[in-house]
């Protein structure tokens, strides 16, 4: 289960970010932000290799001692669900691409994927 889920725009600003242990939100945000460097690295590497550009799954981005940050990959269907939900958000004619995501449906989907805060 995920502890933090973030959707990041291509300009590196967060479209959506939510984490479960709220007291440590800052750390998660920092972690997510740091991972973006790896995303950039990976994406540019893909561009160079010209191989499998359609591969959306970036894999493990930034493993830390306590958490593992994945870019769109997991061995469950977690990210596919997230992607579908994100696609739904994007299809909403009232959503302005680039805005922060405030969809309730998306929020609900993320909640399902998250570790249930105990």
């Amino acid at each position: 289960m995920a502890v933090c889920i973030a959707v990041i725009a291509k300009e590196n600003y967060p479209l959506y970010i939510r984490s479960v242990p709220t007291q440590n939100e800052l750390k998660f945000h920092y972690t997510v932000h740091t991972s973006l460097d790896v995303v950039e690295e990976k994406i540019s590497a893909v561009g160079k290799a010209m191989a499998d550009q359609r591969e959306l799954y970036l894999g493990l981005l930034y493993p830390t001692e306590d958490y593992k940050v994945y870019g769109y990959v997991t061995n469950s269907k977690m990210f596919r669900k997230l992607h579908n939900s994100f696609t739904d958000v994007m299809c909403n004619p009232f959503y302005n691409p680039g805005d922060t995501i405030q969809s309730k449906a998306f929020d609900g989907m993320v909640s399902v994927m998250m570790v249930q805060a105990s």
């Binding site: 939100e25 800052l26 930034y62 493993p63």
Partner: protein, 1229 residues
């Protein structure tokens, strides 16, 4: 070979599969070198069980002397010491010898093998010619081999091979070697397959027993590692790695299961407290110390993991995959930390940090050792994780041991450090000699603060270098702000605030504090703290040199909306205009603002404010967005480009191509202002902050802004007309000013000054045509006072006209709009003027009152078509024209009004419509004559008509008019007509002319008004006798006889000034005359014109000048014939200078020429032509042109349509079929 047996062979990297050699040792020794060289030369395909892909392998072998001890005993699973093949060497070629000793030896060898159920053996018979030569009594060489085969190779003839002359360089020898080697390899592989397969099966069985209580991971580990060793020995590193990975996964699974509550007994040994944290050791191929620990079951978790990883690392480096090492290393380190936590192993604080730090460095060293620099740089992405992790750990160690504390480590810290250093143990011999080992680094770093700082770049902030820290922070803050990471922004700002406080950067600190005070990410307590920082600074009495501090408003409060009241935001000078500003205060506590002011930019220009002040409701909404969430918008929008191609229209070839940016307006926008608001370090705000006190401003004093939405009311200054734009907003809190330098969207209001205006309009509702002549009508006077205030005694002076008197009415009262009650108007009339005194009215009010007026219907008949016939004297102020649609006659009544605010008279035109139209007809019945008058109500109102009277204007006794109208009063509805009839009786001859006047009384029917007095409608008309003058003598014309035709041409119109040029008046004889040419033509062949049919007459320029010409015509048929046609032309004699206008315009010249051409076609003595407009042409220039043109010719020019009225058009004359004379009259008008 013997040496091999003494040494523990398995621990060298030169492990090779063991092959034992029995039989003739000296023979083998002689062949050993060649054999060892030849064996790996050619690869062999290794087909494997369990569907594993076949592999080509180069086989090597370790040939050892056969001993019984080498053979594994039952239960010994060791693979590395396992002899895979047993070879018996012999060069015996003598049957006797064979029988005597060799066979026996072989038998013993075989028996031993059989005892150990080893079936992998081979007998090699070496033959050499030299030996053969020595023996003379040799049997055929096959016989020995055959014997051996017969004796030992029961059905396995391939177990005995012959090697011929192995030491000779001959093709036979080569061949023999080759087949021997192939055999050897095949057998070796067979043995591998068989024995490894068996081993794997055993291993699997062992693994399946892992749920049994006595199972030990360490034992299993040893078994599977054996397999790994064999694969490694066979250079199958991939397979070897798989073995370790399987072990890794198995162990991980156990730990995870333990975490899930399913603990295995053997795990207990791994849960022992960590006593040593000396990191990974990757420099040895096999770390025997650790391996022994594992073998003894005494390894700790870290030991096991370290050993496992060191093996994996070794294999990966063999496989040339150093970067996988780094990845796996990071994973391992993370994993170990997690596993220790999961197994609840007690660890000295900091021990893991040491272990991780050392391990990271060890891995990095190992990688550096096997790669060159360029490779390392290219793959830094793989190593960065380890470096980061190491740095992190060193940092946490620094904190733990008090090495970064400002005061240095405490004794407690020192104790901890000593403990940690103890756990590191002693340095390992491999690295002991090098200067830079991870062990030395860590030990040094932990030993002293200075060394720690050297090794770890301490956070500048902690160590009291806030200046540098601020720089770093600012940079990262900028990034976070730009990318909209609000939590990071908050955190970084907090750190910055700390720096700025230390640096005593008051302005910056206050700005940052303001931002933090309004930051929703902080809790109330923190926010209040920062807010208090500002407030306490603000309340300090300013020092002499201190200036007020200007901070950005954005951090303090947000503008939400602005509402104008009145909503139009357009008011007149002096009016009240209020602005309600709604502000969201971001501060956590209520803030008392001494003054909130908005500076206004005043411009005289007007009219721009409309529409910009909001959407009609006077509300300006400010774009929302918290200071942080706007990050997405602050980013530069993406370029939107599209291709533009310009093709030539003719052949569509490309002229030019380009790229056009569609959203230039967005991209080339100024960004600085937006950024400066958000960036707290922009302490010095733009110069616009300096508030100009002289400027007009909206001001609210002593406002307390509560957290959240606040509403502030401003009263806008409206002293001068012009437009006012809100420029900046400034809130002063003590010494601190919060300034918003731009207000967007633009907020404007407009103040105007208006001239007084008077409008007079009909009181609507009475009829569509509003004002009707002849009956009293109400007219509404509206005075918009504008900037003028009506004082007592001010009066409107209306000039009186006869045709429109103003009726006094008691009901007249003036109403001042937006005030209560009506005020009486006093109206005084003198002969010339009517004076209406107005009640005092303040400026910008509207005064309304009504007056009753009456427009007299002019008594004379109003001819519809000609204005010239109207009497100019009587109606010099009223012009009557027919209404285009309904043929209603209207009268424009002009009223001249003197207003008190102006020295000029106002001329106001009122249009009255005449409600009736009258027509008369003369009817005949036999000899009786009747006059019928049709009165049509053209208005939309209904009327009562009474007393229709018809009288002669100049009463004569000869005619008597007898009314045939019975009813006295009749209803005439809208658009209906009333017919009145009179019989005309006369005693003697009828007068040539009868002037009559029709009059009737009318009154409008109105349901509301009491019956009003009847008004009289007059209609004057004239009856003329037809001017048919029969010729003297004869009564009728007769066919075939000549009759006289009198053509009478009468000038009807006086040539007006403007038209004078067209009427060709010549003044040659002193008398003003115009020449006309007439022509009598009969196109229908009814008449024959006898004699002269045309002529030129001079018409005097005077009204009603008549010229009569007598002519003779002869009717050709009997009956009612139409009169012959008479044409009239302007005659332009040749005497006047004929030409073209000198310089005026060429258009006219062309006209002249065409006329000239036309004229030349008309031949005849009277036909002369001339150009128009020649009156102008005088001077020598024309004369010359005349000569050039040749003879001057007179010309004819037709009248324009409507200028000639043919009186006899359509008339007929009765022609009897006999000769008769007849006189016709033709009137030309």
């Amino acid at each position: 070979m013997e040496a091999h047996e003494e040494k523990p062979i398995i621990y060298t990297m030169e492990n090779k599969p063991i092959v034992t050699c029995a039989g003739d040792q000296s023979l083998f020794t002689s062949l050993y070198t060649s054999l060892a060289q030849q064996l790996p030369k050619e690869p062999m395909e290794w087909r494997r069980s369990y569907g594993r892909a076949p592999k080509m392998i180069h086989l090597e072998a370790n040939f050892v002397q056969f001993k019984e001890e080498l053979l594994p005993k039952d239960g010994n699973k060791a693979l590395l010491t396992f002899p895979f093949l047993h070879i018996y060497w012999t060069d015996c070629c003598d049957t006797e010898v064979y029988k005597a000793s060799v066979k026996e030896d072989m038998q013993r060898w075989q028996n031993i093998l059989r005892l150990h159920s080893s079936v992998d053996w081979l007998i090699v018979v070496v033959e050499s010619d030299a030996k053969k030569k020595n023996k003379t009594n040799i049997l055929p060489r096959t016989s020995i081999v055959d014997k051996i085969r017969n004796d030992f190779c029961n059905k396995q003839s391939d177990r005995c091979v012959v090697l011929s002359d192995p030491l000779k360089e001959s093709s036979r020898s080569q061949e023999s070697w080759s087949s021997f080697l192939t055999k050897l390899r095949t057998l070796l592989l067979m043995s591998f397959t068989k024995n490894l397969g068996r081993f794997e099966d055993d291993m699997r069985t062992l693994r399946e027993k892992r749920t049994e209580p006595g199972w030990s991971f360490c034992d299993y580990f040893m078994v599977q590692e054996e397999l790994a060793f064999v694969f490694e020995m066979l250079q199958q590193f991939e397979d070897a790695l798989v073995q370790y990975d399987e072990l890794d996964a198995l162990f991980t699974q156990y730990v995870l299961n333990f975490g899930a509550g399913d603990g295995a007994n053997w795990l207990g040994s791994f849960c022992a407290p960590v006593r040593s944290w000396n990191g990974l050791l990757l420099r040895r191929p096999i770390d025997m110390e650790k391996r022994e620990l594992i073998q003894r079951g005494e390894a700790s978790l870290l030991d096991l993991r370290s050993y496992l990883f060191s093996r994996q690392c070794t294999l990966l480096i063999f496989l040339q995959r150093p970067w996988e090492v780094t990845l796996r290393a990071l994973e391992l380190l993370h994993n170990c930390v997690q596993e220790l936590r999961l197994l609840e192993v007690s660890v000295v604080p900091g021990a893991l940090d040491c272990w991780v730090f050392l391990s990271c460095l060890e891995v990095l060293h190992r990688i550096e050792g096997c790669c060159d620099r360029s490779q390392l740089e290219a793959n830094c992405s793989h190593t960065v994780g380890l470096w980061t992790y190491a740095t992190e750990k060193l940092k946490s160690l620094g904190y733990l041991c008090g090495l970064v504390a400002e005061n240095g480590p405490t004794s407690e810290d020192l104790n901890r450090t000593v403990d940690l250093l103890a756990g590191l143990g002693t340095e390992r011999p491999e690295t002991g000699i090098t200067m830079q080992s991870p062990y030395k680094k860590l030990k040094e770093a932990l030993s002293s603060v200075e060394a720690f700082e050297k090794h770890y770049l301490v956070s500048a902030l902690r160590k009291g270098d806030p200046e540098r820290a601020e720089g770093f922070l600012e940079e990262s803050l900028r990034l976070y702000v730009a990318e909209g990471w609000s939590l990071q922004v908050t955190h970084t700002r907090k750190q910055m605030a700390e720096c700025q406080k230390l640096l005593r950067q008051t302005d910056d600190y206050l700005q940052t504090s303001a931002l933090l005070a309004g930051d929703a990410n902080l809790n109330q307590e923190e926010r209040t703290h920062f807010c208090q920082e500002i407030l306490s600074f603000a309340s300090q009495p300013p020092g002499p040199s201190d200036q007020t501090v200007a901070l950005s408003m954005a951090a303090f409060a947000q503008l939400r909306q602005l509402q104008f009241s009145p909503p139009g935001a357009v008011v007149h000078v002096g009016a009240a205009l209020q602005l309600e500003l709604r502000v969201r205060c971001l501060m956590p506590v209520a803030v008392h603002v001494g003054q909130l002011a908005a500076t206004l930019h005043f411009s005289l220009e007007q009219g721009g404010a409309r529409g910009r002040a909001g959407q009609g409701d006077g509300v300006v909404l400010f774009p929302q967005g918290s200071p942080l969430s706007g990050a997405g918008c602050s980013l530069t929008p993406a370029l939107e480009l599209y291709e533009m191609q310009d093709r030539s229209p003719s052949d569509s070839s490309l002229n030019s191509a380009g790229v056009v940016c569609k959203n230039v307006h967005l991209l080339l926008r100024r960004h600085d202002s937006n950024a400066s608001l958000d960036t707290p370090t922009a302490g010095v705000l733009p110069a616009a902050v300096a508030v100009d006190d002289g400027a007009q401003m909206l001001r609210a004093r002593d406002v307390t802004l509560q957290p959240g939405d606040n509403s502030i009311l401003f009263t806008a200054p409206v002293r001068n007309p012009g437009s006012y734009t809100l420029r900046q907003l400034c809130g002063s809190v003590g010494r601190v000013q919060f300034v918003q330098s731009h207000i967007y969207p633009v907020v404007q209001y407009e103040v105007y000054s208006q001239e007084p205006q008077l409008t007079i309009e009909p009181l609507s509702g009475l009829s569509v045509y509003n004002l009707l002549a002849g009956i009293p009508q109400r007219v509404k006077f509206t005075i918009a006072t504008g900037h003028y205030s009506i004082k007592k005694g001010d009066a409107l002076q209306l000039s009186n006209t006869d045709s429109m008197p103003i009726l006094h009415s008691s009901r007249c009262s003036a109403t001042i709009l937006s005030s209560t009650g009506g005020q009486a108007l006093s109206i005084q009339s003198s002969e010339k003027v009517t004076s209406i005194s107005l009640p005092p009215t303040p400026p910008y009010h509207t005064l309304e009152f009504q007056l009753e007026v009456l427009c007299h219907i002019p008594p004379a008949p109003l001819k519809l078509d000609s204005e010239r016939l109207t009497n100019g004297e009587v109606r010099h102020r009223s012009k009557s024209r027919s209404h285009a649609d309904s043929a209603m006659i209207h009268i424009d009544q002009k009223v001249s009004i003197d207003c008190p605010w102006s020295i000029y008279s106002t001329l106001i035109s009122l249009t009255f419509y005449v409600p009736f139209k009258a027509k008369h007809t003369l009817l005949s019945a036999g000899r009786r004559k009747y006059i019928q008058v049709c009165l049509q109500n053209v208005s939309d109102s209904n009327f009562h008509l009474a007393d229709p009277v018809l009288v002669e204007r100049q009463p004569t006794t000869t005619v008597e008019l007898l009314s045939l109208n019975a009813k006295r009063q009749q209803l005439v509805c809208s658009q209906q007509s009333l017919f009145c009839l009179w019989e005309m009786r006369w005693a003697k001859d009828l007068p040539p002319c009868l002037q009559c006047e029709f009059s009737a009384s009318f009154v409008p029917i109105s349901a509301l008004d009491p019956p009003a007095a009847f008004k009289t409608y007059r209609y004057e008309f004239q009856l003329d006798r037809a001017e048919i003058c029969p010729a003297s003598g004869d009564k009728h014309c007769r066919t075939g006889t000549l009759c006289g035709l009198e053509v009478s041409i009468t000038r009807q119109a006086e040539p007006s000034e403007t038209e004078g040029e067209e009427e060709e008046s010549t003044e040659i004889e002193g008398l003003k005359t115009t020449k006309l040419m007439y022509e009598v033509v009969d196109n229908s062949s009814n008449w024959a014109v006898c004699g002269k049919s045309s002529g030129v007459v001079s018409m005097p320029v005077a009204p009603s000048a008549t010229h009569r010409v007598q002519m003779e015509v002869m009717p050709l048929f009997a009956g009612h014939l139409p009169f012959p046609n008479i044409k009239v032309f302007k005659y332009l004699p040749h005497s006047a200078a004929q030409v073209i206008q000198p310089d005026t315009d060429s258009c006219l010249e062309n006209d002249n020429l065409s006329l000239l051409d036309k004229g030349l076609d008309d031949q005849g003595d009277t036909a002369s032509i001339r150009s128009r407009g020649s009156v102008h042409s005088v001077g020598s220039g024309e004369q010359q042109r005349e000569q050039q043109r040749g003879l001057p010719m007179p010309r004819l020019e037709p009248f324009s349509p409507g200028q000639v009225f043919n009186w006899t058009q359509g008339r007929q004359v009765l022609v009897l079929p006999a000769t008769d004379d007849h006189v016709m009259e033709v009137n030309v008008t």
